[in-house]
């Protein structure tokens, strides 16, 4: 049989398993059918129920406008799949091409897509995390629980972490007229993602909306009462605050533990893959039947010096899933690279924040359009004289232009005037907190001397 014959046979009656039944998994499955894959398709997911959309969970669901079970993802087509839901995958055996489930079942595949996503990082003390009134927000159940707690009219909500999720939740609290304290280790909200200048604007915005914002502080302890209800939080500066609800919004942990012994290049940052979404093994060699998409995929982006980047963005999950699906059923010559420019959005304090590119890949930032005081502007980010990202506050319709500037490595700061240009257009240092990930220690060691025996071995990866 020729390669084309094998591919045709695979498309007709091959076996594809998708691990992860959320946005990336579902969109990949739909794309596989669109591509003409008629073989067997198995969807594995640890959550029960149909795939649902997560962005509304920290927004419309928390205001009570949309019920938590009202965010099911629209189905773009019938996917005719076997659904194995409610049981997580626990292992991947590349020698025999099986996915192992936590209940002991084994699911064979010819090709597999890994789209297991991210879970919320829990509070670091288990007994404190278990207190009544302490929440994380990642799943439908989480959002439903928090919505109920907010509806009960708490005296105060403490949000730990002022990233996007934390800031959105603080915004909802103010919208519901609930007193809220936000505790953030960095000098301002959103600083880790967007840098110090935007962080300052975000801080002003929070305070103008009545948020008790405390930056540069660490929450050290969550204290409960005798009934096990959260009552008080302690900060590292010795102060305390009384509240009935604490929302832990400290980012996510990529769901890769189940791949620990798989022999794939897995770490806290996700699973390394090529731009064709094929996973790399521990040695950095490309696999041919293991694909990755969504929040767990760590993919090189040529625009950003080929660095491996993993993104927890809705649009990235969709685009990567479609590329992965296409490549799963295509021959080498017809494969696509995933080369999209990252894009994400947030709504908080009445402002639509949208970003294109990778703002952390920058040394300077400048407001190029609009007015910061009006909360209506575009800021461009540059790295060594070229545009690498842009962020808009209530001005998203221009971002397509900045996407183009990024794609064409246009000069930074953008030289030509626009009608809506601020009087003082001076780039400032972007100022991100230090690269904490680099301090986490080696995850692998290299062994062997002869080129034929050189191998990578993992030492410790998950923390």
């Amino acid at each position: 049989m020729t390669g084309a014959d094998i591919l045709r046979a695979f498309k007709r009656d091959g076996r594809i398993v998708v691990v992860g039944a959320s946005l990336a998994g579902l969109r990949a499955a739909e794309a596989l059918r669109d591509e003409g894959f008629t073989g067997s398709l198995t969807m594995i997911g640890d959550e029960l129920g149909e795939p649902y959309d997560r962005p509304p969970l920290s927004k419309q669901v928390l205001t009570g406008w949309v019920p938590a079970d009202g965010t099911k993802l629209p189905r773009r087509r019938d996917i005719d799949a076997e659904w194995l839901l409610g049981v997580p995958a626990s292992g991947l055996d590349l020698a025999t091409d099986h996915v192992r489930l936590a209940d002991g079942r084994e699911v064979p595949f010819d090709r597999v897509l890994i789209a297991t996503g991210v879970r919320a990082r829990p509070w670091f003390v288990e007994s404190e995390a278990a207190l009544d009134g302490v929440f994380v927000v990642r799943t439908r159940e989480h959002a439903e629980g928090l919505q109920r707690a907010l509806a009960a009219g708490p005296s105060r909500v403490l949000v730990i972490g002022a990233g996007f999720t934390g800031s959105e939740i603080a915004s909802i609290c103010r919208e519901r007229n609930i007193p809220v304290t936000v505790a953030e280790l960095a000098p301002g909200p959103l600083v880790g993602a967007l840098g110090a200048m935007i962080g300052e604007i975000a801080a002003d915005m929070q305070r103008a909306h009545g948020v008790d914002l405390r930056c540069g502080v660490k929450v050290t302890r969550l204290e409960g009462d005798e009934q096990g209800r959260f009552r008080r939080a302690h900060f590292d500066d010795g102060t305390t605050i009384d509240a009935d609800v604490a929302v832990v919004a400290l980012g996510g942990i990529r769901n890769t533990e189940w791949l620990r012994d798989s022999g794939l290049a897995v770490g806290v940052w996700g699973i390394a893959c090529d731009t064709g979404c094929r996973a790399l093994d521990l040695n950095g060699l490309i696999t041919d039947n293991i694909f990755v998409a969504g929040d767990v995929a760590r993919c090189p982006n040529p625009i950003y010096e080929y660095r491996l980047i993993s993104l927890e963005h809705w649009a990235n999950a969709v685009e990567q899933a479609e590329v992965a699906a296409h490549n799963m059923v295509s021959g080498q010559a017809d494969r696509w690279p995933h080369l999209s420019i990252p894009l994400f959005w947030s709504i908080q304090f009445g402002v639509n924040i949208k970003s294109v590119g990778v703002p952390t890949f920058a040394d300077e930032v400048v407001v190029v359009q609009g007015s910061v005081t009006d909360r209506r502007f575009v800021a461009a980010y540059g790295y060594r004289g070229r545009v690498t990202a842009a962020v808009s506050f209530n001005n998203a319709k221009w971002l397509d232009h900045y996407r183009q500037l990024i794609e064409t490595a246009a000069p930074f700061p953008p030289p030509c005037p626009t009608p809506d240009q601020p009087a003082d257009m001076k780039p400032v240092p972007v100022d991100f907190p230090g690269p904490t990930l680099l301090a986490q220690g080696a995850t692998v060691v290299v062994t062997g001397h002869d080129p034929s025996e050189r191998r990578v071995t993992s030492v410790q990866r998950h923390r």
Binding site: G370, R376, W398, H401, C416, P417, P419
Partner: protein, 406 residues
Amino acid sequence: MATTKTPDTLLRILDYSTRADPYPLYAELRETPVALQGDGSYVISTYRELTDILHNPHLSSDVRNLSHPVEAFERSGTPAFINLDPPEHDRLRRMAMRHFGPPHTPGLVAGLEPDLTATVGSLIDDFVGKEQIDIVDDFAYPFPVTVICHLLGVPREDEPRFHLWVNAIIDSIDYNPKTDPKEKLTNGQQATTDLREFLGGLVEQRHGRPGDDLLSRLANDDGPDGRMTDDEIVATANLLLIAGHETTVNLIANGMLTLLRHPQVLRRLRDEPGLVVRLVEELLRYEPPVHIIPWRASYSDITVADTTIPKGSRIILMPASGSRDPNRFHDPDRFDPDRRDNQHLGFGSGIHLCFGGPLARRETQIALNELVRRLDRPRLVADPPPYRRSPVLRGPIHLHIEQGDG
């Protein structure tokens, strides 16, 4: 790159004789995506280049940024937001949108649905006993006019007067000093003055009298941006009134014409009314009501498709051509109501995206559904039908049909 092999393509498009089918000329135009014209203006006709420039902050909608102002553009009075750039554009559009759509006024269009259906129903009731129906005069014109008057709070009985004004204004939009009589321009300018005066009178009456119509709401607004001046309200109302008159009528008439040319789609729509949502999107791509955006200016040098358009140049955009670009749409000259990948330019793109788009969509959906449901074997009397003069807002001036055994 910018020099075109066929320098007169745009002139032939503007010529009335090509009105019934400008699409082959658009194809000719697309061979040079950014085409420098004899008068120094640039025509952009391909999809990617159009979407690029519509999102380019160096593109200005304010004719004061042209280095050689064109006579027709010299308008009197406060400009409406369609002719302004940020931040003024954003402020005025935001203040108007507060009373028209989400987040502050969600459900306005949905709330109008019973009225829309009733208006459509009564217009179709009047078809009874007529041997010939003019879909334009008997239906596609009176329907959106009734709706926009109701929405703004303009008395219906004043309609014949401003009908004349609006026609004169539209007529002057594509005024060409070389070929057109001067009256075409002066009539348009006089009509603008008269219409504004008339609207100014209405605004004056609304002060201190809160009501549900848009004029009352604008005249009594206490939103975060404060209140528009009376001149700004008049400019806004003037814009919405003209747009409400002259665009949906074309979309509905073009829609009925397209359905009559595709009888199998018409039959399908009758059996499957839900199809209308996608069908109207395809119409906006295939036979849109607005074909040309004749006036934009480069605020600074703009590079599009390797062509640098110098600061101060006039830029003419051809969205109807972009929506037929084979590099973006598969089989673009086929009317395919099942088309899924359909990000057409029927409502434009970027910050000037059609303000009334959600209303126009719903109006057209209801109109076409009811027409195909209630007309009995409708047939075109003449194909092509006679067209309006304007190459910008393109559509039939009459669309005569017969139905039943007539």
